[in-house]
C-alpha cells in the first residue's frame, strides 16, 4: 500500500502505524510517550498529524493511527503546527523541569504562555510509560492513580512498594528522566525503597539489585547470576571466539 507523507510517497503494510512509516522514510514526527518496546500509549499527543482521506481532514495521533487505506499525511500543516504548539505549551507548564519538553518547545517555536499555572520544576509528563513497563514486566509496583487533573504515578499509597524489585525499567523508559534513581555504594534507591546491589564477581561493578536478579533467576529457573551484563556478554564472546578460533 502506498501513502503520502508530506508529499513523499511511502510504502507501508496494512495496519502499520503512521509513526513507524514516517520514521522508516526519514520523516521526523516529534513524540514523547512512544516507546518501540511498549507501543500504543498514545497519550502525550505531541505526535499529532493531519490525515486526509477522500477530502476529509482529521487530526490523528501518529503513534497509534493504523494505516488501513490510501491517504495523505501532513506532519506540518498549519493546523498541526498550531495544535502541537498548544500541546507542548501545556506539557511545559506541567513539567517545567523537563529539558526534553523545553527543547521541543524551542524547536517548534512554542510561545510562552505566562498566564498558565506552572508546576514546580517537575519533569513528569504523566505519560504512564513507566507504569506500562512495570506492568509488562509482571511486577506492577507502580501505576497511574486518580483521574483528571489529580492523575499521578505512584506506588500503592505512596509507600515503598513490596513488589518493586528495583530494576529501574521505569526510569529507563521515562522520556523525560523524571524518575529518581539513586545509585549508592552498595544499594539502589528508587520509589522510596532501598535495595542492595549485587556486585559482579569479575569486574566488581554492580550487576543489578539483589531482588531483580533473584526474580529473573526464578523466572528462568536458573541460579543467581554472578556477573554483570557486560561481563556476561564478554564471557560469551570469548567462548565463541575460542570455539571458532579467532
Amino acid at each position: 500500500m502506498l501513502i503520502k507523507i508530506d508529499g513523499k510517497e511511502c510504502g507501508c503494510k496494512h495496519g502499520e502505524f503512521i509513526l513507524e512509516v514516517a520514521k522508516r522514510n526519514g520523516i521526523e514526527i516529534p513524540n514523547l510517550c512512544h516507546h518501540e518496546g511498549l507501543p500504543g500509549q498514545g497519550c502525550c499527543r505531541v505526535c499529532i498529524v493531519e490525515v486526509e482521506i477522500n477530502g476529509w481532514r482529521n487530526i490523528v495521533t501518529a503513534c497509534v493511527y493504523p494505516l488501513e487505506r490510501e491517504c495523505e499525511v501532513f506532519t506540518n500543516s498549519p493546523r498541526v503546527i498550531k495544535q502541537r504548539a498548544m500541546v507542548l505549551a501545556l506539557l511545559h507548564s506541567l513539567a517545567p523541569g523537563s529539558s526534553e519538553v523545553s527543547e521541543l518547545c524551542e524547536k517548534y517555536n512554542v510561545p510562552s504562555y505566562r498566564r498558565f499555572v506552572k508546576k514546580n520544576d517537575t519533569k513528569c509528563i504523566l505519560c504512564g510509560l513507566c507504569a506500562k513497563a512495570c506492568e509488562s514486566l509482571g511486577t506492577g509496583a507502580i501505576s497511574t492513580v486518580n483521574r483528571g487533573t489529580g492523575k499521578a504515578v505512584t506506588t500503592p499509597y505512596g509507600e515503598p512498594s513490596y513488589e518493586c524489585v528495583g530494576c529501574a525499567s521505569c526510569a529507563k523508559v521515562c522520556p523525560t528522566g523524571a524518575i529518581m534513581v539513586e545509585e549508592g555504594a552498595g544499594s539502589r534507591k528508587i520509589w522510596g525503597k532501598k535495595i542492595p546491589l549485587l556486585k559482579c564477581k569479575k569486574c566488581g561493578e554492580p550487576a543489578g539489585t539483589y531482588m531483580e536478579l533473584r526474580r529473573a533467576a526464578e523466572k528462568l529457573g536458573e541460579g543467581m547470576p554472578e556477573l554483570c551484563e557486560a561481563c556476561r556478554k564478554k564471557e560469551i564472546a570469548e567462548k565463541l571466539a575460542s570455539i571458532y578460533g579467532y
Partner: protein, 600 residues
Amino acid sequence: MNYTILVCCGTGCIASGSLSVVEALQNEINSQGANAEVLKQIKKTGCNGFCENGPIVKIMPGGISYYKVKPKDAKAIIAQLGDEPVEALLYRDKGKAVLTQKENPFYAPQVKVALRNIGEIDPCSLDDYLARGGYDALKKAINMPPNDIIAEVEASGLRGRGGAGFPTGRKWRTAAGYDNYPKYVVCNGDEGDPGAFMDRSILEGDPHTVLEGMAICALAIGANEGYLYIRDEYGLALKHVEKAICDAEAAGFLGSNIFGSGKGLNLSVVRGGGAFVCGESTALMASIEGRVGEPRAKYIRSVQRGLWNMPTVLNNVETLANIPVIINNGGKNFASLGTEKSAGTKVFALVGKVKRTGLVEVPMGCSLRHLIYDIGGGIIGGRPFKAVQTGGPSGGCIPADMLNLPVDFDTLTSYGAMMGSGGMIIMDDRSCMVEVARYYVNFLAGESCGKCTPCREGLRQMLAILTDICEGRGKEGDVELLEEISETVLDSSLCALGKSAPNPVITTIKYFRGEYDAHIKEKKCPAGVCTAITGFEIDAAKCTGCTLCKKSCPVSAISGTAKSAHEINKNICISCGACREACRFEAIKTVQKGGLANAD
C-alpha cells in the same frame, strides 16, 4: 370493582417517603375491612417522572392521580375509592384541580415510547410486563432472519440515545458482518451527567424492556453473551435488573435456550465504580475487562474490536428500550414520530429554574420553548429565562433568542450544544454564565480520565483561568486564550469526553461574551452569583420590613425590625444571595464588592 392503587416507588418518590405511604395504604385496606364489591390491590411502580410532586399515587382504572401524598392521606384515599376524588391531593394547574395525568399539563404533551410501561407496572413482576405485551417482540424476532431484524431497526431511523446519535441499525449491521466469535452485546447504564436520570428511571421502572432489547440485538448480531454496565450508585436499578434477569431466565426468555429455539443469551450485571469517563464506550469496556477505566484511541471501532477485542455492540439503556416497540410495530411506524433525521422520541430530564421539573418524553423536533414553557410551565417566579444547558457537562448553553430551535441531534450540535443523553438544565437571569462554564470545566477536570495531555492539562489551565475570572482576577486576553486552548482540546484529545469538554466554555463565550467582559474589565458579576466580586445591599425604598431576608441569612448579617427597612452588614455578609432569593419585593440589589452599585 377491582381497583389497583399504583404507588410510585422510583428513587425520587422513595426519598419523599412513598414506602411508608404503601404501608399506610395497606394498613387502611386491612382496617377498613374487605368490601366484597371493592377489591383493592397495591402496586409499587417505577418513576412517574414528576418527582418534585412525589410521592405519586394513581388509582386504576380511571387514572386519578394524587401528588405529595403523606401516610396520613391513606385513610381518605381508601375510603373514597370509586367515590369523589380526594380534592386536596390533586394537582392544581393555575388553581384548577386536575384529575388524571392526561389532563395534567406536565404529562399531556408527552408521547411515551421508551417510558411506555414505567409507572404502569410493577418492575419486579414479569407478569405485569407480559400483560403489556412484554417479550412479544423477542418471540417475533426469534423467527426472523437476523437481516430482517436489522432492516427493521434501520428503517426505524433509531439513533443512539446515549449522546452521539450513531444510527443503531448501522451499528448492528456492522457487528453482524464480522464472523469472529464470541460477540458481545453491552448495555451502557453508566449515566453520569449531573441532573440526568433517564436511564436510571428505565432500569428501575421497566428492566425487562432493556433485557428484551438486548436479546433482540443478540439475535441480530449473533451474540451469546451480554453485560449491563450499571453505576453502583443506582442501587434500586441494580436490584430490579438482577431480579429481571433471574425471572426472564427462569421463564426461558433468556439463558441458553430462548423460547426453546436453541439460541441463547447469558446476561450479567457489572457495577460501575463511579467514574464519569466509564460511560465512554472504550473506557466502559476496559472497566468490564477489569482494567483501569481509560479510553483508547478509537481508530478501530469497538463494533469491530470491543470487549476482549471481539465484535461488540454497545447501546444505551434508552436506545434498547425502544427496540421492542420497533420490532412489534415496525420500523416505519417508529420513524413516523420525530423528525426525518432524528426519529422517535427522546426522554429529557428537565431540571433547574423551571416550574415543573422531572422526566419528560417528547417526539424529537419539538422546540425548546415547548419543553420549557408548555411542559415545564415556564420559569419559577416568572423571572426571565436566560439559558438552557443541554447535553450534560460537555454540552452547551443555548440563549433565549434560540428558544424556537427544534430539539434533535443535528440542530443542537450545529449550535455548539448537543443532545447528549438528555439532561436539560434551565437557568434564569440569576445564573452567571461564567460560573456555569467554570462549574462544568471543574467537573470535567476532575472526571477526565487524565490520560491524554490536551484534556487533562487543557482543562487544568482553563479551570485556573475561569476561576480567576470568577474571583475578579481575570485579565485582558483571557477569553481569547480560553478559545485557543479550547480549540486544541477539541481537536487533539483522545476520546469524546475531551473532544467535547470545551463546549460549555465555547458556547458561553459565543452567546454571553458580555458577561465575561463584565467580570474581566469591570470586576463585576452581572448575575450577582460570583461571591468574590458580588455584594448585596437593601434598597430602603423598596424594603417593606417583612423580615424574610433576615430569616434566610445563614450568617445573621441582616439587621432591622419588622416593618422597617433592613440593612446588610457587609463585614459579615458572605454574598451567598439567600436574601435575594427570599425577598419578594426586589429590594435586594447586587453591588460590586466594595460598594459600587451595579448598572442595573
